[in-house]
Symmetry: C2
Subunit: 330 residues, 2 copies
Amino acid sequence: MVTITDIAKALGVTPSTVSRALSGSPRVKEETRRTVEETARSMGYERNVMASNLRRGRSSIVGIIVPRIYREFFSNVIGGAESILNEAGYNVLICQTHERREAELQALHTLRKNQVACVLMSHAIETEDPAPIAEALGDIPLVQFDRVFRSLPGAKVVNDNYESAYAATRHLIANGYRRVGTLAGHLCCEAFSDRLRGYRKALEDSGLAYDESLVFQDCILRETGWDAALQAAEAGCDALYSAGDFSALGAMEALRWKGLSLPRDFGIVGTADETFASLMSPSLSSLGQHAFEMGRVAAKAFLFRSQATTVISMELHIRESSNRNSICQK
Amino acid sequence: MVTITDIAKALGVTPSTVSRALSGSPRVKEETRRTVEETARSMGYERNVMASNLRRGRSSIVGIIVPRIYREFFSNVIGGAESILNEAGYNVLICQTHERREAELQALHTLRKNQVACVLMSHAIETEDPAPIAEALGDIPLVQFDRVFRSLPGAKVVNDNYESAYAATRHLIANGYRRVGTLAGHLCCEAFSDRLRGYRKALEDSGLAYDESLVFQDCILRETGWDAALQAAEAGCDALYSAGDFSALGAMEALRWKGLSLPRDFGIVGTADETFASLMSPSLSSLGQHAFEMGRVAAKAFLFRSQATTVISMELHIRESSNRNSICQK
DNA sequence: GTTATTAATGCAAACGTTTGTATATTTGTT
DNA sequence: AACAAATATACAAACGTTTGCATTAATAAC
């Protein structure tokens, strides 16, 4: 392995000069820099990141913490962040929490130990108190995305959950559904509580009553979606806005099992636009997130040391599960 | 930050003793070790991985290279590997190649620079020549999974592609399909060529002719699946074994568009058992891979310095798209 | 021509750990 | 009691980079 000392010897200068030349310090002559760079290239030099990190007390790794990498949304966010960060010379260390608080703290700890340059994170559902996160991070910058804690400092990238849930609910109402319920997520999580607020506002703006018994909390899994849908149907519901696609899927299965037909008897709109949404039959209407873009924005927030909150719009994909108007036209 | 020197001073010993005590060297007295460990804990000591890595010339990071993290198969392999590696004190650095050779070499380079302890890898489809991989790795151990090059040294973990494709094809034949084609992958990739061999053997064992015109190469995408299915149907095919689920999906859509009914007029079995396979209507029969287990096995192969090749069985999930027998019984 | 100013490089001390070799201590053997 | 063997710890040199401070060389100011 060739080191800066080797280069220095070859050129009759000191390692400091080589180091400065290679890291673009303005303290070396332009000509020297060129010579050094050339020699480095010809000798096949590669900077030893370990040594560099040790000395600088900070690595060129960015940590990303997500609940689960196999959720399409998160893997796409990761992909987006990676595309920006790799470009900028950073590597990405990915940790999964599986929605568990303990695993989340463990991950933060791991990243701290690796002295990552920054942490991009979407917190676990279990997490209610953000204070330990701040503590575990120390002075490492934090960029939150999707699921964010307002009270933590640093940049944030979120979806327009309120507006999109509003739009999705209005869409159901516009299709003639009159008793619209919702499969809500965990309300301690702002992304989910915002969706609930948007849903509620849509009902109110349409002159429909907001009925607490049609709000199913902590309902984002296929199983809980199934149960909630049956209860909802029992309660006279004829449509559901779901804060997730998996619970929407469970709901559709339950309703079909009950003999109801979508979108004729019942309308559903999900959130996340998982691949299966468009492949099911009937296909599931869903709010698509610009996950890749969200990752890019989060990564840039770190690179530019932004502290801003960016809002990214979701996109309503209207499909068979809610589109009664076009079915009628057929 | 508290260092081993701090601990040493507090105890009146030298850093070397502390280092040895903490890393479990047999060269310190049992009593000393206990005292050191206790003091370390009480002082809140954490080993500086940068310094450790620099000195040892090797990091406690394992690199994983996959074509795409959002493929469920790969994200589950990653999850499995992570579960073992984290336990053993390693962290995981994930790189995507997007099936591109250049990105693959770049990733290897990155990992080499980070002096990873090992690389777990499933190569890109574009890659035909494994030599540059070996070169880029230097003396870093390699564990290949799913898509492997026999000629490279090191452990390998693969599916029983030959046997499973054989079983899937036999299943189609047992359901009365008589002209079975296949959507094959890139045959330079052993995983795919093995599936083709299994398919062929099944035909031969069943007394059916192997017809090259029913073999569609490089066909693993939704779009190519669509085209191939139409050609296949034109050629008198009544069933397809597909080496991927996305091409199987495209094929199903094309056939339905053509007015054919599954499984009545046409049978399909895919490979990978993506989530959508069970959710579609008709649901798609598919060969499920034990992805999580594959990740665990690959990680263990590294930890135990194994050089062996492990074969993991796939599982045939029989669903509506191929199950004509049970439909008839209805 | 002397002095102040700037520019370019050199010097040397870190960063925190690991490890080969040396030293001191204990134990065992005769 | 003397010596060998073992055990336990200390010493010191790395690992390759970065960076504050010192030094030298070049330019500008008077």
